[in-house]
Symmetry: C2
Subunit: 312 residues, 2 copies
């Protein structure tokens, strides 16, 4: 029996093409938000989307297949109460996001943001740059992305630690893992913080004024979620604290509002939530989707299942 | 007997401090170009400088100790004819330059130059980004810098080859080394070219229109010397060819003239010849200088000697 799959109009590169090519599916491709809601009211069972809207709730909806790693955009409790399964794209982005985090880190140490901004005025200004070699780097919320980042640090001569809610469950390449309760001490130790975790369940910040003060004259990179950093504290640390720079792909509000001081701070590099962007996305994501399609048909196990594989 | 050492007013971070702290030297620190020339006419034996000016030639000058890796700025034949020894800072910059090349490469694949330039207008524009993972990378003119770059690629899942005038003399970490005569074929194979060599002896370009056409829809990074690329061909490949981007730290004329189209090309990231910049420079360079100071005093071997360690 054909399964009705609704593809949201906004999907990462290649997802539409690869999912549409799978056999046995009735693919619906609405052009806008209202169309998505209508398709779900008209019997859509599966929604492929990283975007959520109240109007998507429908009696026929059985499975939300998100290509994103984070899931704070979904009303998880409500969907679970209706027996709607939620799966994520956790891990699919890992390589691209790790490379993006690395790009932001190096752009900070080598002052490339300033160099790029100076181009408009043909300004040849030579700042002192710094090295990752010998630096102390903490990967906060280490998981698949953090592991992919850590593997890429292999030949760089940096010291690396991870921070994780439950260090006992860690089995990746980083040798030293601290619990989140030691975050302040880790910030004190580190030169560079790389935030790679999903949003906190309660949406609270992990990095506030105290953590930024402990970090001191270091750099911070965030490719996790905007809510992980208290933006007001960040702006204060950039303006009047020792903080040397911030490379940010995620923000408490996206798109970043035009009046945010982050756009104009000379120490900030704003990247428009593209860390997961890669031409290989669709090809990689469809493997997760196929596995879960089989599980949906009662054949085999779910993958990246929210509430089981991925703790809430 | 005290040796008269003239420190040029423009020196990399820390060189002045570390060299001045060495025992048995009579340190002269002129404030400008004329002062340097005067100090050398007044009996200066050693000139520490990466800048050269005709007026520096003097009967007392015995040793030009350059902290730079390149040496095309010096009248080598003329200095050698006068028995003036020339040493370079080759290798001292390797870590910083390798990191800078990596930063430029990632800024291209992740579109960070565009992101930074969009900040002035608070423009949230999300391009498709790419990955280094799986890419084919050629390090052209592989030496100490290229080796430092290659080691940093360890955990990145890229294929790497080197290009070297005489592959038989190579003993670094890259397994496949092609001769310069195969450069066209290497460009055809590669997705990313990293130029790490000093200038050609005759100042000619290694990368011209044919090599850029062979590279096709790839990226090019130059932290070697501006003369290595035919800039006119580069601009044409950026404007109307397939070339996806260029990350440039060096230019045929520096500072890059204000009317150069490289300043305004959306595919270019201009960095103002800062690849070697690092707070650790002085500390590392003084070790080379001390070794050579001993050789100057007749105790031990020269290091980074132009014409012997470093072929002309």
């Amino acid at each position: 029996m054909s399964i009705s799959v609704v593809l949201h109009p906004k999907l990462p590169e290649g997802v539409r093409e690869y999912v549409s090519a799978l056999p046995g599916l009735q693919i619906v491709t609405p052009q806008d938000d209202e169309g998505v809601a209508r398709a779900l009211q008209d019997g859509g069972e599966v929604l492929v989307s990283f975007i959520w809207n109240e109007s998507y709730l429908s009696p026929s909806l059985k499975w939300v297949a998100s290509p994103s790693a984070g899931f704070d955009q979904f009303p998880v409790a409500e969907l679970h109460a209706r027996d709607v399964v939620i799966t994520t794209g956790a891990g699919v982005h890992a390589d691209a996001v790790a490379e993006h985090a690395f790009a932001l880190m190096l752009a900070l140490t080598r002052n490339l943001g300033t160099a790029a901004r100076n181009m408009a005025e043909a300004k040849w200004q030579r700042p002192l740059c710094d090295e990752v070699f010998g630096k102390k780097i903490a990967i906060v919320g280490i998981g698949r992305i953090g592991d992919a980042f850590a593997r890429r640090l292999d030949g760089w001569g940096a010291e690396v630690v991870g921070v994780k809610r439950n260090p006992a469950t860690y089995s990746g390449p980083v040798e030293v893992i601290h619990p989140v309760s030691a975050l302040r001490e880790v910030c004190d130790w580190a030169d560079i913080l790389i935030l790679t975790s999903p949003a906190q369940v309660d949406g609270s910040a992990l990095i506030g004024a105290a953590e930024l003060e402990a970090l001191g004259a270091g750099w911070i990179v965030n490719i996790g979620r905007g809510s992980l950093i208290d933006e007001t504290a960040l702006i204060a640390a950039l303006d009047s604290g020792e903080l040397r720079g911030a490379g940010l792909d995620v923000f408490s509000k996206e798109p970043l509002p035009a009046d945010s001081p982050l756009w104009t701070s000379p120490k900030v590099l704003v990247s428009p939530h593209v860390a997961g962007s890669t031409p290989a996305f669709g090809k990689r994501y469809v493997k997760v989707f196929e596995t879960n399609l089989a599980a949906y048909r009662g054949q085999g196990e779910w993958m990246n299942l929210l509430g089981r594989d991925i703790p809430l």
